[in-house]
């Protein structure tokens, strides 16, 4: 069909060399990769402007940018429909809200006595900056019911590239119903540590704090070892709830999960808890151990 022209104009077609004009920009060392096989053809554009000049060397003027127009030209063309279309455009280009939920822990902790269980879950709804976050966690023993259960409702705001500030309320269901105001943070620290911390002020005036940290150590792309630590602190001594002041207790965990899908990962691991100071004394006085190690089996999942 069309066979002639290029072959005539550019005999190099199909050959290895590419036609290149003489490189005026050689000092830039930017063109050294061009095969030097073919002699550079004369620039057919010679005489127009600066034939041997590089565009990069053109002088750049210093004109001020024009003012930003306040109107949209489309409004001059289309009598209706643009307002709605602009709203949709903004929503669909950064304005979406999403619902995500995480079941971070959902596990059984078999023991010499009764088996225990524990959960930790989050639900998050909102845009990139402002979100509603619901959190719940708790644990108990089969046959003895819940030992600890709490829910939090938080407003979460992204404040830096990696960290969110969170504030809201916490309601404990067990060991006793108590309400707290809370403020905290959640984010990703250097070296890929997920960190989370919060202060809690109860309606009784008690101040406590919690700090959690965990990390995903990828043994393979699906087999992931997750070390974690959690510290609890309290400002007041509260013998009735068995809690001393200062560092009350700490948890260490090591969980090995297999991500069948990113969103679905069964795991096994070890969970270690230790009470400190007066808290430990209260526990011993009540005939409990101040420390405990348990194997855990569970499921991590999210959507």
């Amino acid at each position: 069909m069309k066979t002639l022209l290029l072959a005539a104009a550019f005999p190099l077609i199909g050959g290895a060399a590419n036609a290149q004009p003489a490189d005026p920009h050689a000092g830039h060392a930017g063109h050294e990769h061009h095969a030097p096989a073919a002699p550079a053809p004369a620039d057919p554009h010679a005489g127009h402007g600066t034939p041997t000049g590089s565009a990069a060397d053109l002088p750049i003027g210093s004109a001020a940018p024009p003012p930003t127009p306040a109107d949209d030209l489309a409004d001059r063309v289309w009598s209706s429909g643009m307002d709605r279309a602009r709203t949709v455009l903004a929503q669909e280009h950064g304005g979406m809200r999403h619902l995500n939920g995480w079941l971070d822990r959902f596990e059984v902790r078999p023991g010499s006595g009764d088996d225990a269980y524990a959960w930790e879950a989050r639900l998050r709804y909102g845009g990139d900056i402002n979100r509603l976050v619901l959190k719940t966690e708790g644990e108990g023993e089969f046959g003895h019911g819940l030992e600890e259960a709490q829910v939090q409702a938080l407003w979460s705001r992204a404040v830096t590239a990696y960290f969110d500030l969170q504030a809201g309320v916490r309601q404990d269901l067990e060991p006793r119903g108590r309400t707290y105001a809370t403020v905290g943070f959640e984010g990703l620290a250097p070296y890929w540590w997920d960190v989370e911390g919060a202060l809690f002020l109860s309606t009784k005036g008690d101040l406590s704090a919690r700090f959690e940290v965990s990390h995903d150590l990828r043994l393979t792309n699906r087999l992931i070892l997750e070390p974690s630590a959690e510290l609890h602190l309290a400002s007041q001594d509260d013998p009735r709830s068995g809690q001393g002041s200062g560092l009350t207790d700490a948890e260490l965990g090591l969980r090995l999960r297999y991500e069948i899908r990113r969103e679905f990962a069964p795991y096994v691991g070890v969970h270690y808890e230790r009470k400190f100071g007066d808290t430990a004394d209260y526990a011993r006085a009540a005939g409990e151990d101040a420390e405990e190690t348990r194997v855990v089996v569970g499921l991590k999942s999210w959507f």
Binding site: A29, A55, L73, V159, A161, R218
Partner: protein, 600 residues
């Protein structure tokens, strides 16, 4: 200046919902496997063209999926026009939501550009909209939805415009190859997952197993990167874990085949219509002579492989001499999968499909932190990685693609560098949407693209592209404008100068006809194919008068791209053509108005 149309081209359609959806067995002729190539009647031609947007079932490798399709197929019909003609395109929307068509790369009056909310109100459910404009250019283009996530679901198709005069490219046969990606999971779900977890679809992360086996980064490198919370394996957001990569709607096992007769010069018109995938394209055994980029003729340049960003097009000539099959490979840039096709003298043939190559690892250079390369050259960088390892040899020797492999362990800085110094980009809005400001961004238009530095054969770079025809505007720029491409990979937030479009940033303002030098600086660790509607911009390298003209340009991570543009009157969308980046906010508008004091 702006003419209001005599009438509003909105016609009420019958309101009938999409009835007879068709299967991919009925793909348009050019997209069918074992096609002999383009034959004129197989395309939609003429001055009156009708298109219908509707839901359609598709089949990929035997698996049924759901698509939003043009005229019932994915890809949709090829539209073939001639430079100088006029065209009316009536688009009927049989969806229950708005739709639109943007004519990608076509120079049209702004109100025919097809971006709802910028150029027109969109096409409501049940309505028919008639686009009407003159064809003022030649080349390979495509068209697609600019509404919601419809393009990701199949709403795209190629367009070929023959030059008014003689075609300077000689060929005996031509094929259109539309590359794309398809997920059987709804794109809204993919997006929601990415908001939930950074790198969720990346199944090629570095592992302890890899470290013990002596693969990937060394411990020192890993620690340095981990400290910065940067993942060098984060090459693609959406991967082969959930994508099937397509050639003309065919999965790799479907083996789309284009026929040739040995000795023929075969022109292949490549369109990357993928939502979120950059491809590396090669045909083992054949040299690829690039003759057109983004629809614009370039001086022929012969390579072994080229990278094609989303929405880019390349026309190449191959001349298979042997009576055998050749495999066309379009490898996803992160090497998590590939699109595959066959060029063969007869149907039913196939050739060896090369295995996926090792996935690339991002380097300090991709963070704009390559001290060694900085201050040197832009184009010399492809071999620059060696500099860290003490290969002080100047990079000048290596052709793009043939640099010696980076030495393991060489990608450490050994000192800290400020990663978020806003004083380097005062126009950027601070906040959670900005993870990084590239400390030392480089012109990377001489680089072959991520993962192609050391593939052992010649790879195309932007610096190889020289416009065949003289540029229409060779004036020096009157002013300069820098736009930063910003993002946060952990939060999956993307924007320009720190703004998502939903945050209401000030549009970029231009005077009609003014010549402006625009520099795009990539402050993220991912390549962004940036598209400006309604314009061809001239990449600033090489001789004045023959700069390559493009509508979409890949800006490599930690890199920058500079172009000169002549502002055309109108309001024009400007965005990343990674559709999920755009959806996340990486979208802006260029507002071009008559100069102050000018009539109008």
């Amino acid at each position: 200046m702006i003419r209001t149309p005599d009438r509003r081209f909105l016609l009420k359609a019958g309101g009938a919902f999409a009835g007879g959806a068709t299967l991919s067995a009925l793909l348009p002729g050019w997209a069918r496997s074992a096609t002999p190539g383009l034959t004129r009647p197989a395309a939609l031609t003429g001055e009156d063209i009708k298109l219908t947007i509707g839901h359609a079932p598709i089949a990929i490798e035997g698996r049924r999926g759901h698509a939003i399709a043009i005229n019932g197929t994915v890809p949709g019909p090829l539209i073939r026009l001639r430079e100088g003609q006029k065209v009316r395109l009536a688009v009927e929307n049989r969806l229950s939501e708005d739709t639109s068509i943007h004519w990608h790369g076509l120079i049209v009056p702004f109100h025919m550009d097809g971006v709802p909310g910028v150029s027109f109100p969109g096409i409501r459910a049940g309505e028919t909209f008639v686009y009407e404009f003159p064809i003022v250019q030649y080349g390979t283009y495509w068209y697609h939805s600019h509404s919601g996530l419809q393009e990701l679901m199949g709403h795209y198709a190629p367009m070929v415009i023959d030059p008014a005069g003689a075609d300077p490219v000689a060929y005996d046969r031509e094929h259109v190859v539309v590359l794309s990606d398809y997920s059987f999971t709804h794109p809204h779900t993919l997006f929601q997952r990415m908001k939930g977890q950074g790198g969720v679809f990346n199944l090629q992360k570095q592992t302890v197993g890899g470290l013990l086996a002596g693969r990937d980064q060394t411990l020192a490198e890993r620690l340095e990167w981990a400290k910065m919370r940067m993942d060098p394996t984060d090459i693609s957001d959406v991967t082969g874990a959930v994508y099937t990569y397509l050639v003309n709607g065919h999965g790799p096992a479907d083996n789309w085949t284009g026929l040739f007769a040995p000795g023929e010069r075969v022109r292949i018109r490549f369109v990357n219509a993928a939502a979120q995938t950059i491809f590396n394209v090669r045909i083992p055994g054949l040299k690829l002579t690039v003759v057109q980029a983004d629809g614009q003729h370039v001086r022929p340049v012969t390579v072994d492989e080229f990278q094609i960003g989303n929405a880019e097009t390349y026309d190449i000539i191959v001349q298979p001499a042997e009576d055998r099959a050749y495999t066309l490979v379009a490898e996803a840039v992160d090497r998590s999968g590939l699109a595959r096709a066959t060029l063969a003298p007869r149907p039913g043939m196939s050739a060896e499909v090369p295995p996926l190559r090792e996935r690339p690892l991002a380097t300090m250079k991709d963070m704009g932190m390559d001290m060694a390369a900085h201050g040197g050259s832009a184009g010399g960088d492809h071999a620059g990685h060696g500099d860290h390892a003490g290969h002080a040899a100047p990079a000048a020797a290596a052709l793009p693609g043939t640099a010696p492999p980076r030495q393991r362990g060489s990608d450490v800085m050994g000192h800290s560098m400020e990663m978020l110094d806003y004083s380097k980009a005062p126009q950027v809005k601070t906040g959670p949407g900005v993870q990084m400001i590239a400390p030392m961004p480089q012109d990377r238009t001489g680089d072959p693209g991520q993962g192609l530095e050391s593939v052992g054969h010649r790879v195309l770079t932007y610096r190889d592209l020289i416009a065949l025809e003289p540029n229409p505007d060779t004036r020096a720029p009157e002013r300069a404008l820098e736009i930063r491409l910003t993002g946060n990979m952990e939060r999956f937030m993307w924007g320009f100068d720190g703004f998502k479009w939903s945050e209401g940033p000030k549009p970029y303002a231009f005077r009609a006809g003014e010549r402006v030098r625009v520099t795009l600086v990539n402050d993220t660790m991912m390549t962004h194919p940036i598209h400006l509607h309604g314009h061809f911009f001239d990449l600033v390298h090489g001789p004045v008068g023959h700069l390559p003209r493009k509508h979409t340009v890949n800006v490599l991570p930690g890199g920058k791209v500079t172009f000169d543009m002549t502002a055309e009157p109108g309001d024009w969308a400007f965005h990343c053509h990674m559709m999920f980046h755009m959806h996340a906010g990486m979208f802006q508008v260029f507002k071009v108005r008559p100069a102050e004091g000018a009539a109008g």
